[in-house]
Amino acid sequence: MSWSWPWTGIFRDLVESRQSELQLAQYVAVLAGVRKALDDWVPASRLDAYRQVLKKLGLHMEIDCLFRPLPQTMHIPGAEAVPTTRAFGMRYQGTSADGATTAHVIVASRSDWAIEALAAAWYSVAVEDRIIRKPLIDHYRFGHALGYPGCCVQFFLNHNDWPRMNTLADAATNSTGICWETNSFPKHTIWMSVFHMPCAFDCAPTRSQTNAVLEAIRDLDRRYAEHIERFMRQPILAASEVLCYALVGGRLTTRGRVAYERPIYLGGDRRHDDYARSLASGDEVAVSDGTIFVWRSGSLIEVLETHCDRGVVEVPLLLIFQ
């Protein structure tokens, strides 16, 4: 398999054992003591190799359960509202599994931290014909067990209500500045640094975590750290957590618009990538009245209306990171 970056050292070990380039910064955060634990999905067929890598790194692992993707045609009530994963959950029994099955794992630098995180780590998955969720309090416990800043965990619990609230807009309202270290939008790309939703775009604990993680990454691969930082500094256009874009080459113009070269979808789920064509056709963007305006060579070419009345509250934001 070819990778998008010339991985070396522990990055290479993690990428090859997991067959994925994502989430590497989370491992660095745990190794560097910035975070207590992380959770990840690893191909069940690769668990032995993965376990060896973790052992080499001195990390402890607990396995929650197996995830098998729900077929697109299968309808289970509520499955559409499950963030990130649409899967059947199955008990892990040490058996080998087909290539599509992943194991939900908890990794920590101390075994008691891994056990603590595992206790609250249940994800919303389907068991037979029903989605099983956990009580809200366990999201709070899980956030703490992973080592996310307490302010951000509490904020997330109070605002993570997609039909009525937009966490990003609320974080923006809660901010006095827009600092690049709080940019967690790239979390579904290899350029991620922090994973959690910040309570504000100038949240001090989040900035501190980012700087610590980047410093640790820099020790392992300086170029990679630089690339992550460059990516995180790019302006973001976001309507919701699943409808958000990095604006490559973005800069604020004198007309109050953001000029850009191309968009990169960051929502993590292509089913929600509604603005790709429109943004790719344009070179400038602005937001007002709940509407995203897209220009090309000075002519208005697209008017994208966001909605708060369709099950997910969309609030358009243009974030210019400092």
Binding site: W122, P135, S288
Partner: protein, 493 residues
């Protein structure tokens, strides 16, 4: 004499206007809504009878209601809500032909090109979209004069002979076709999303007229009783059924939703005819419509019949109804229908089996000294999830309780735990508060008591599983969650 639907729509319009004024006073000023609303107040009685012939009013009111329901006007006033309130000025413009002489109005452009006038019978289209800019209009000496602030162009329409207009700009003016007294509006952006105006609609209009004539002969009057206008997207055409006239609308389900259900086959046939007229956008009609499963039609009819007869539904229908509602919730665009179904039919259905499904916690919370006024309603009553249901386990009660401060949860636990053997409500409050304060063993003890009171409550079983998980007993967790063990003897192990 306004019909039932018009009267209801007027009441809904007034209600949302008052809500916006009360709850978002700054927004109604900033958006210009107050000015547009004052124009509406000056219109003669009965204007709604014409206004409802275009679907824009129902679309606007329905969206406004949804924004209010999710409190977007309070939380995010300068996102969708301000655009929506600004858009009300477009409605006012479309009704301007009935406004008194001297009436003036402003319509912000906000990126829109197409504006309806004369109750949707004429559409005007600016050559370009603009982020800013506005249309200024005035009724003067029997003419409607519209000026574009950007281009300076002017459109002047003779209101006594509205086929006559003069125009000084490069605007398109388009008369919406009418078939059998039905507006065929495939262009208004609120319900089409279509950017290009088809210039030749003769074939479509003729096909529509033929199909409507055919349908008239197939049963009770369908046309023009139930249709006044037709659009591309069914989810935007709730008003189609909403305009229906029936002698005695059943209680509970809204007329709109009910007629949409009851006339599914007929509308489906109509749409099939339209679809074969090779207007590809009309395909969206059928796609959306087929999302409403036949079981909804059948079940909706049963619900309606029960209402009319004043009887309650059999438990098998209740169960299917709930399953259906949960399935409907995931269909894009079905939120409004689900909400209405949920608010009317489902509430009534649930009432009939309140004894079986609901556990009242309010007295326990009150007696424990908890300030229940600050709690969401879901906390006051546990809606039990039964094993046979496919819907997700409803955690809203324990999630709502998690808003209590640690001290309050402590008080609740200390009050409820010693009394847990007295009632299921006490045991439930004790189990939930113990879980929330990380007393997992105590929570399991209380949940055992809960299950003695009622063995078929999945909230108890799953919370027991999550409690045992916190204690590191993964096998027990897996037996409950993956193996679906629901045997109380297992809990004693």
């Amino acid at each position: 004499m306004p019909e039932r639907y018009e009267r209801l729509l007027a009441l809904r319009l007034i209600r949302v206007a008052e809500t916006f004024e009360d709850e978002a006073p700054e927004l109604v000023k900033t958006s210009g809504f107050l000015e547009s609303w004052s124009i509406v107040e000056s219109l003669p009685p009965g204007f709604l009878a014409q206004a409802v012939r275009q679907p824009t009013l129902d679309a606007w009111v329905s969206c406004a209601e949804q924004l209010i329901r999710c409190a977007a006007h309070a939380r995010y006033p300068y996102a969708h809500p301000i655009r929506h309130l600004k858009d009300f000025s477009r409605l006012a413009l479309s009704w301007a032909s009935l406004a008194p002489d001297g009436t003036k109005g402003i319509v912000p452009a906000i990126g829109r090109r197409t504006f309806a006038i004369l109750f949707g019978r004429v559409l005007v289209r600016r050559p370009e979209r603009t982020q800013h800019g506005e249309l200024r209009w005035e009724v003067r000496s029997g003419a409607l004069r519209i000026q574009d602030s950007g281009s300076g162009g002017i459109l002047e329409l003779n209101l006594s002979a509205w086929g006559q207009w003069t125009i000084s700009v490069d605007w398109e003016v388009f008369q919406v076709p009418i078939a059998s007294n039905i507006l065929v509006d495939l262009w208004s952006p609120e319900y089409t999303g279509v950017h290009k105006l088809p210039t030749n609609t003769t074939n479509l209009t003729q096909a529509l007229e033929r199909s409507l004539t055919d349908l008239e002969n197939t049963g009770p009057p369908f046309v023009p009783s139930y249709l006044r206008c037709i659009t591309v997207r069914l989810r935007k055409s709730k008003w189609i059924a909403g305009l229906g006239r029936i002698e005695d609308p059943p209680q509970g389900l809204t007329t709109a939703a009910l007629l949409e259900i009851m006339h599914r086959d007929r509308i489906g046939r109509l749409l099939e005819i339209l679809r074969t007229s090779k207007k590809k956008d009309l395909g969206a009609f059928l796609v959306t419509f087929s999302d409403l499963s036949s079981s909804l039609v059948e079940l909706g009819a049963k619900v309606a019949a029960c209402r009319q007869l004043g009887t309650t539904m059999d438990s098998q229908y209740i169960e299917r109804w709930e399953t259906l509602l949960s399935q409907l919730q995931v269909i894009p665009g079905s939120e409004v229908l689900v909400q209405e179904l949920g608010e009317s039919a489902n509430v009534q259905v649930k009432k009939s089996r309140l004894e079986d499904l609901a556990l009242t916690l309010k007295p326990i919370l009150r007696d424990a000294g908890i300030n229940i006024a600050a709690l969401p309603l879901t906390v006051l009553r546990l809606h039990k999830t039964r094993r046979r249901m496919r819907s997700e386990v409803d955690w809203s009660t324990i999630d709502g309780l998690s808003r209590l401060l640690p001290d309050e949860l402590e008080v609740l636990y200390r009050f409820a735990a010693p009394r847990a053997h007295l009632s299921e409500s006490h045991a439930c409050c004790a189990a939930f508060s113990a879980y929330l304060t990380s007393r997992f063993s105590a929570s399991m003890d209380m949940l055992r008591l809960c299950l003695k009171f009622d063995e078929d409550v999945d909230q108890y079983w799953l919370l027991w599983a999550f409690a045992v998980r916190h204690l590191g007993q993964r096998d027990s967790f897996a037996k409950i969650v993956f193996d679906k063990v629901r045997n109380t003897s297992f809990l004693c192990d």
